[in-house]
């Protein structure tokens, strides 16, 4: 204190040696000093206001204003605390606290609040009975002392800052206490509801025209109101207490707030409804959100999820499309200047990410492509996949965001893209994409791959080493290269080049047979590990490839090979109706009619149908599948024959 006094003395009188005498004279402050400080304060605020209006984002004078405010605050606080200039002190401190909040230094903010509260107490000459570090108690003391005095409205300014700090740390208890203090002005034992307290929160705030503040207290109070409700709501949502969250959000929607925040409120309301199994209400809320602020991308995303849930693929695709375009546009536009205290600061980064998070453009594109292909919008799907491939390669790469959403493996994406292109009849593009996959995977596959059924090994022990995953990786490579060859074969079939198709199918089979299972019999009780998934896909793929190859043989007239392949295919994927039919047809054509009939009856009698396997996109069958069989003629033939044979025997 004495040092500061000397500093002041030096500043005023340029003479530190006479400080002791001068200290006495400092007790009655010369009024011109107060005015000077007030003027300095106003200058800083004016500078900030000018920056705000002119919006030059490159020059962040926030830090500059902050340091200036701090210096002024230090100067002002160098003088012993007095009620005379308490208003000035509070105004200056309020400004520097605002800037401190804005620059994101929470520890310093807390220190300053503690400081100013202590000084306020000193100003009214109350001895410090409360320890420094407990802000709650300090507040309690301060509010008690200053209640009813002329300085109360000014103290409430500091209260707003404290509220802001605690809100950003989600300390609802302390805020509640604070409100209780202010509202009831007595220690109430009932633990009130934060919502109700906030709702009924009224306290007078005074502004002095001669002491400018960087952010008007009314505005801050409004913002804090809204943000408190939102924050509370989000917390409840995280705890899955959606009804309570709804309540809070209703409150929030009644408050005056900036557009973006209102949009957030609506969106969160919609989210709650969605979680409460009211999709229509949710959709309505999302619509409202978009009306209020189109930049709320999460609303688009959530609505697309709802459409998916409802099965409305078209709407889903449209929503995702809009989302993608919005995100790409947004990425190109310049960020606007951030206001002094924004909702981002008050709500904390975790809550913000919860509120605002959307999948990355890659995810969006992938989802779009996937949906389009599945819903037969083939050309669009192909386009989306091509965009996705391009953006994976492009220079403007996205660093992986921490959003918890995962992306399929890149070769899988390529295969899906090839599938989409094939469906959209863009054969050469499909061939090129498949070639890409093949070149990267084929040489990684050894001649023989032996799979042992996985003993469930705890993955945590060896999570990260290359060797543990190597086998998985190799199997996946087999699957991918096999699938790639398969798709190439299909592409050649579309081009009516049966020879080339045959070559490709053969290659696929060559890859697939490299994998051999040590123990084929599956224990029904065993875990279906991921190895089994891949093995399942491999088998399914094998079945399909063989079937396709057989069809090629049929077209070329090599019926014996076709028969063999159909048999093998049936082995790989037992119960496939199509293949069985083909088999019968083959037997018939090869003049082994008895066997054909036997098989036919067997098929008719069997009830076992193959378990539906959830195949990945690139392995799925599609309508123009050459292996689909026209049953009618076969049925006629077989029925005739059987009848005849019955007749004959």
């Amino acid at each position: 204190m004495i040092h500061l006094g000397r500093l002041i003395a030096y500043e005023i009188f340029q003479d530190p040696w006479h400080a002791p005498e001068l200290e006495k004279s400092l007790t009655d402050m010369p009024s011109n000093l107060v005015d000077r400080w007030a003027e300095e304060n106003n200058n800083i605020v004016k500078k900030w206001k000018e920056y705000e209006t002119h919006q030059q984002p490159l020059q962040d004078i926030r830090k500059q204003c902050y340091t200036e405010c701090l210096k002024l605050q230090q100067k002002v606080q160098g003088v012993p605390a007095q009620t005379g200039h308490l208003k000035l002190e509070i105004a200056v401190t309020y400004n520097s606290l605002l800037f401190s909040l804005s620059c994101g230094t929470p520890n310093e903010t807390k220190d300053y609040i503690t400081n100013i509260l202590i000084r306020a107490l000193e100003a009214v000459h109350k001895p410090r009975q409360v320890p420094d570090y407990d802000l709650v108690l300090l507040w309690h003391a301060v509010l008690k002392i200053f209640s009813g005095t002329v300085h109360e409205p000014w103290i409430h300014k500091l209260l707003l800052i404290q509220w802001a700090v605690w809100l950003s740390e989600q300390r609802y208890e302390e805020i509640l206490h604070l409100f209780l203090e202010v509202n009831h002005k007595k220690q109430s034992t009932q633990s009130g509801d934060l919502l109700s307290e906030t709702r009924s929160l009224t306290f007078p705030i005074e502004e002095d025209v001669s002491l400018l503040v960087a952010l008007a207290t009314e505005d801050l109070k409004e913002l804090l109101h809204v943000c408190t409700f939102i924050s509370y709501g989000v917390e409840k949502m995280k705890d899955e207490k959606y009804m309570e969250a709804l309540e809070a959000l209703q409150e929030a929607s009644t408050q005056p707030s900036p557009r973006a925040l209102l949009a957030h409120v609506h969106m969160l309301t919609g989210f709650c409804y969605a979680k409460l199994e009211q999709p229509q209400c949710a959709l309505q809320c999302y619509r409202k959100t978009l009306e209020v602020d189109f930049n709320c991308h999460r609303a688009l995303y959530l609505s697309s999820l709802i459409y998916r849930q409802l099965g409305n693929t078209n709407a889903e695709i449209e929503a995702l499309n809009l989302l993608h375009s919005a995100v790409m546009l947004h990425a190109e536009s310049d960020p606007s200047t951030v206001p002094l205290i924004s909702s981002d600061m008050l709500l904390g980064s975790k809550q913000i990410s919860f509120i605002c998070q959307i999948p990355s453009p890659l995810h969006i594109l992938h989802t779009l492509g996937h949906r389009c292909v599945l819903s037969d919008r083939t050309s669009e799907g192909a386009e989306y996949y091509l965009d996705l491939l391009a953006s994976l390669q492009s220079d403007s790469n996205q660093i992986p965001a921490d959003d918890g959403l995962s992306f399929p493996r890149i070769p899988v994406v390529y295969l899906e893209a090839a599938f989409a292109l094939l469906k959209a009849k863009r054969v050469w593009d499909a061939l090129a994409v498949c070639e890409e996959v093949i070149t990267k995977t084929v040489d990684l596959i050894p001649e023989r791959l032996l799979i042992t059924p996985s003993v469930t090994v705890s993955r945590e022990l060896v999570p990260l080493t290359l060797e543990a995953d190597a086998l998985d990786e190799k199997m996946e490579c087999v699957l991918w290269s096999g699938a790639a060859y398969f798709l190439q074969g299909q592409a050649h079939l579309q081009l009516k080049d049966t020879k080339e198709a045959l070559t490709n199918f053969t290659r696929a089979i060559n890859q697939l047979v490299k994998v051999s299972m040590k123990q084929k019999v599956k224990d029904p009780g065993s875990d279906e590990g991921a190895v089994d998934h891949t093995v399942m896909f491999l088998e399914a793929l094998k079945g399909k490839v063989l079937a396709f190859r057989a069809v090629c043989f049929v077209e070329r007239g090599q019926l014996k090979e076709a028969l063999r392949d159909f048999q093998l295919s049936l082995q790989a994927t037992p119960g496939c109706r199509n293949t069985e039919m083909w088999l019968v047809e083959m037997l018939w054509r090869l003049d082994r009619k008895q066997e054909a009939a036997a098989m036919w009856t067997q098929i008719l009698n069997s009830t076992q149908s193959s378990a539906p396997v959830d195949l990945p996109l690139y392995l799925q069958t599609w309508q123009e599948d050459p292996t689909s069989f026209d049953l009618s003629s076969l049925q006629k033939k077989m029925d005739e024959f059987v009848q005849n044979s019955f007749v004959t025997t």
Binding site: K63, P335, S360, L362, H363, L392, Q393, D395, N397, Q398, I399, P400, A401, D402, G404, L405, S406, F407, P408, R409, I410, P411, Y414, E436, V437, K440, T441, V442, D443, L444, I445, P446, E447, P463, L464, T465, L466, D469, D472, E473, K474, M475, E476, C477, W480, G529, A530, H533, T534
Partner: protein
């Protein structure tokens, strides 16, 4: 180990250091010495350009992708970012200038993370590694111009080490390097990027990264594990349906990792990943292609052990340079790889240690001691490898390795290409030489011309100066002057009067070729009265200093010569003669304005002297012949015609024939005056007379014709071939002077021809006038004259003058000519009756 002699040059000395790091930045080197200061050392100027001061000692540094921003990690775990101005030295660079000191303040702090141990920058992304609660966490932040944003983070559980010294930051700092797949455009753009052979990239880092060409960050942790993660891939789902962890560990070196790099450059890029551990274990990872017997492609991990501890290392194409704290070594990596690739061991990990295999690969000692930091090797213009090293004693050294004889990496052109290139170069040289020689010629020409012009102007200046001076001081002679003398020459029995002009160059300038001597002979009659003026020009050859040039010109013309004539001598120079025709042509091709100037400017004319030739000069001194009738040797045509006509009694109206009686005219000059002026103080009258005669005829100085004049009587022949006689004698005039008789020298002219008489009289008077006007001799007191005599003389003159005026009436016609000339003649005779006395 055999050692190599390297050329080590010490560039700077920073004092004793504990730790150091150095990075090359173009021609400059950025050095951190483990203190708060960081130095930017300019390789070209060999001095420290900039000093950056931080708040805390610096632990590590890295350059940003744009090569302009520098990221520095200090001991207080703050990461600072400053920009390096590239060409700041070009503005203020002077030898001996103080390096600029710039403070890096808290404002440049990008990241404050209490646990950050290491970082690297790739593609505008900052990757930091920190150790928190037994987890190594990697944090990605983007540092583009739109701002600083934090992105995803990854975590790797740490292996606890029991006896690690936590205070020893050096051993705890992980090493981070970024690798690019070779086909990526980003990788090719900058040579600072480490790129890897695509097969190896795919084998080590997975198919996904290879398909998307995403760069990979490899981190060598202090526990020896090598982890990597992709930079640009999204989080991927594994086949199990879970999210695959993006970081993977692919090897464990079991020693803290000092360096990760790529080496052994092949067709498709660096073939091998090099990792060096602190205790001397070197790991080389190389890819094997898919073999023909169906074996899949895979990586070979080759380990090689050298004697540690390894403090720092760097690689170039084929070699690994590493420094233990005591010495610097060079290891040939290709030699390690060759035997291992031929071995058919089935295990992917091969350990090759010294003394083990058939060809032991030893590290070559380079004999440079105590190196603690190395920068990337560069190739000097001579083709040898150069390294920049910082030693423990604080010296920045440039180590130049001796060139391998069998590794001469000089790029060779094919011989045909080389031949063509040489031809092109020679043609180019010839071209340039031609142009240069033409230019040179032109320049020489101009230079010479200027020299000559200068010379000429010097001469002009000299002459003009001397003329100016000559106006003030009559006696001073200009250095270049003429002398004119008239003489008679006989050619084919015909006598003619010629004038010889001798041009003497007594100046220090040489009169070059091109000067002409112009002699203008001007008769005293005006042009309307029948006089003429002729100019003769003689081109001079070179006249050196002290040389004389002589020209002669005939004085007699067809018409009768009217003496006295004035001869004006001048020197002239035409500017066109500055250049000879060939040179002029050359100049006029290139520079027409100059040639025009030369043509039109004309010439310079400098006046030298003016001489007057009068009757005395034109006399041909001959044998004294008796007075009386004589047959002239040559009769003029007029006379002959006259004689014929008179013999035929035809009267003509021609002007009167000259009378046969000789006319006599005399001039009296005071002897005292003559004695004084001619410097003949004490001589007899006879001698005086002879001297006077001599003076009259031959001038004062030349001794040419003085021998001819031996007597006071001289007979000579004038230009009109008439006899004249000159007599001098001393006479006493008694009634002239007031204080006694005046002795005068009488100069008598006698001749039949009136023109001779007049002319000679005039000539004598002129000479005397010259004497009178000679200012060098102090004028003596004029003798007292009788007033009476003077008045008489004046009265006489006045009435004669009045008569003369009457003849000047404008009523003259042709008829009057005869009468006028007769009257004039009478007047003249009257005038000359009394001889003129000059005192």
């Amino acid at each position: 180990m055999e050692g190599l002699r390297c050329l080590v040059e010490c560039w700077a000395d920073f004092g004793d250091l504990l730790s150091a790091k150095a990075i090359c930045h173009g021609p400059d080197v950025i050095i951190s010495t483990g203190t708060e200061h960081m130095f930017v050392f300019s390789g070209q100027e060999r001095r420290v350009k900039t000093v950056l001061q931080f708040e805390c000692p610096v632990t590590s540094l890295a350059l940003g992708g744009d090569q302009c921003s520098l990221y520095v990690l200090c001991e207080n775990n703050h990461l600072y970012c400053t920009t390096l101005s590239q060409d700041s030295s070009s503005f203020s660079a002077e030898e001996g200038d103080d390096p600029t000191l710039s403070m890096v303040s808290k404002d440049s702090v990008l990241v404050e993370d209490g646990n950050m141990l290491s970082f690297t920058v790739a593609e505008d992304i900052l990757i930091t590694v920190s150790l928190k609660e037994s987890f190594w966490s990697f944090q990605l932040c983007s540092t583009s111009s739109t701002g600083f944003q934090k992105h995803a983070g990854f975590q790797v559980p740490a292996v606890t080490q029991n006896d690690v010294d936590l205070q020893d930051r050096m051993s705890l700092a992980p090493t981070l390097t970024c690798f690019y797949p070779n086909s990526s455009l980003k990788g090719h753009a900058c040579k600072h990027h480490h790129s890897l052979d695509p097969l190896l990239f795919r084998l080590l880092f997975g198919v996904d990264a290879s398909l998307t060409n995403s760069p990979i960050i490899v981190c060598g942790l202090p526990d020896g594990r090598l982890a990597f993660f992709p930079l640009f891939l999204p989080a991927l789902t594994s086949s199990r349906g879970q999210q695959k962890p993006p970081t993977k560990i692919f090897y464990s070196l079991e020693q803290p990792v000092v360096f990760i790099g790529t080496s052994v450059v092949g067709d498709q890029g660096p073939q091998c990943l090099v990792v060096i551990g602190q205790k001397g274990r070197i790991l080389l990872i190389k890819a094997n292609q898919r073999s023909s017997d169906g074996k899949a492609a895979d990586c070979r991990f080759i380990e090689h052990v050298v004697q540690g501890p390894v403090v720092c290392a760097c690689v170039d194409r084929e070699h690994l340079y590493y420094s233990t704290a005591t010495n610097l070594f060079c290891l040939s990596l290709s030699k390690i790889l060759i035997p291992s690739s031929s071995s058919s061991s089935s295990s992917p990990v091969t350990a090759v240690s010294e003394g083990d295999s058939t060809i032991p690969v030893r590290a070559v000692c380079l004999n440079v001691c105590r190196v603690i930091a190395l920068t990337e090797p560069s190739i000097s213009p001579a083709g040898s490898v150069q390294l920049l090293a910082v030693s423990l004693s604080g010296r920045l050294l440039q180590v130049t390795l001796p060139q391998d004889s069998d590794n001469a990496k000089v790029s060779r052109l094919a011989s045909s290409q080389a031949g063509q290139k040489i031809k092109d170069l020679l043609a180019g040289i010839g071209n340039v030489w031609e142009r240069a020689s033409v230019e040179k010629q032109q320049l020489e020409l101009k230079n010479n011309t200027l020299k000559r012009l200068n010379h000429i102007l010097n001469i002009c200046h000299l002459l003009l100066n001397s003329q100016k001076n000559a106006q003030e001081v009559c006696d001073l002679r200009s250095p270049i002057h003429c002398r004119v003398a008239a003489k008679w020459s006989t050619l084919l029995q015909k006598d003619s009067l010629i004038v010889t002009c001798i041009l003497e160059n007594q100046s220090s300038c040489v009169l070059d070729q091109g000067w002409t001597l112009c002699l203008q002979v001007q008769s005293s009659l005006s042009v309307s009265a029948g006089g003429s003026s002729r100019t003769y020009s003689f081109a001079l050859t070179k006249l050196d200093c002290g040389q004389k040039a002589e020209v002669t010109l005939p004085l007699e013309t067809d018409a009768a010569l009217f003496l006295p004539v004035q001869i004006h001598c001048s020197l002239g120079y035409t500017l066109q003669s500055l250049l000879n025709p060939e040179e002029f042509r050359q100049l006029s091709i290139n520079d027409t304005s100059l040639s025009q100037l030369l043509i039109h400017t004309g010439s310079i004319c400098l006046v030298l002297n003016t001489f007057t030739l009068d009757w005395l000069d034109a006399l041909q001194i001959g044998e004294p012949t008796p007075n009386g009738d004589h047959i002239p040797k040559q009769i003029s045509a007029w006379e002959a015609t006259n004689m014929l006509l008179s013999s035929r009694q035809i009267h003509t109206e021609e002007p009167a024939m000259p009378k046969t009686t000789p006319h006599t005219v005399a001039v009296h000059i005071s002897s005292e005056f003559l004695r004084k002026r001619l410097s003949l103080p004490e001589c007899s009258s006879g001698l005086l007379c002879i001297s006077v005669l001599r003076w009259l005829l031959c001038g004062t100085s030349n001794a040419e014709g003085q021998e001819d004049v031996q007597s006071p009587v001289v007979c000579a022949r004038g230009p009109d071939r008439q006899e004249v006689r000159l007599l001098t004698k001393e006479v006493i005039l008694s009634d002239f002077g007031s204080d006694g008789p005046l002795s005068v020298v009488e100069v008598q002219v006698e001749s039949v021809s009136m023109s001779a008489v007049c002319g000679l009289h005039h000539a004598v008077l002129r000479r005397v006038q010259v004497l009178l006007n000679d200012a060098s001799v102090k004028p003596e007191k004029p003798a007292e004259l009788r007033r009476q005599r003077l008045c008489d003389a004046v009265r006489h003159m006045e009435c004669l003058y009045k008569d003369l005026q009457d003849f000047r009436d404008p009523a003259a016609g042709v008829m009057k000519t005869r009468r006028t000339s007769e009257s004039l003649f009478h007047l003249y005779l009257q005038l000359r009756e009394k001889p003129l006395v000059i005192v």
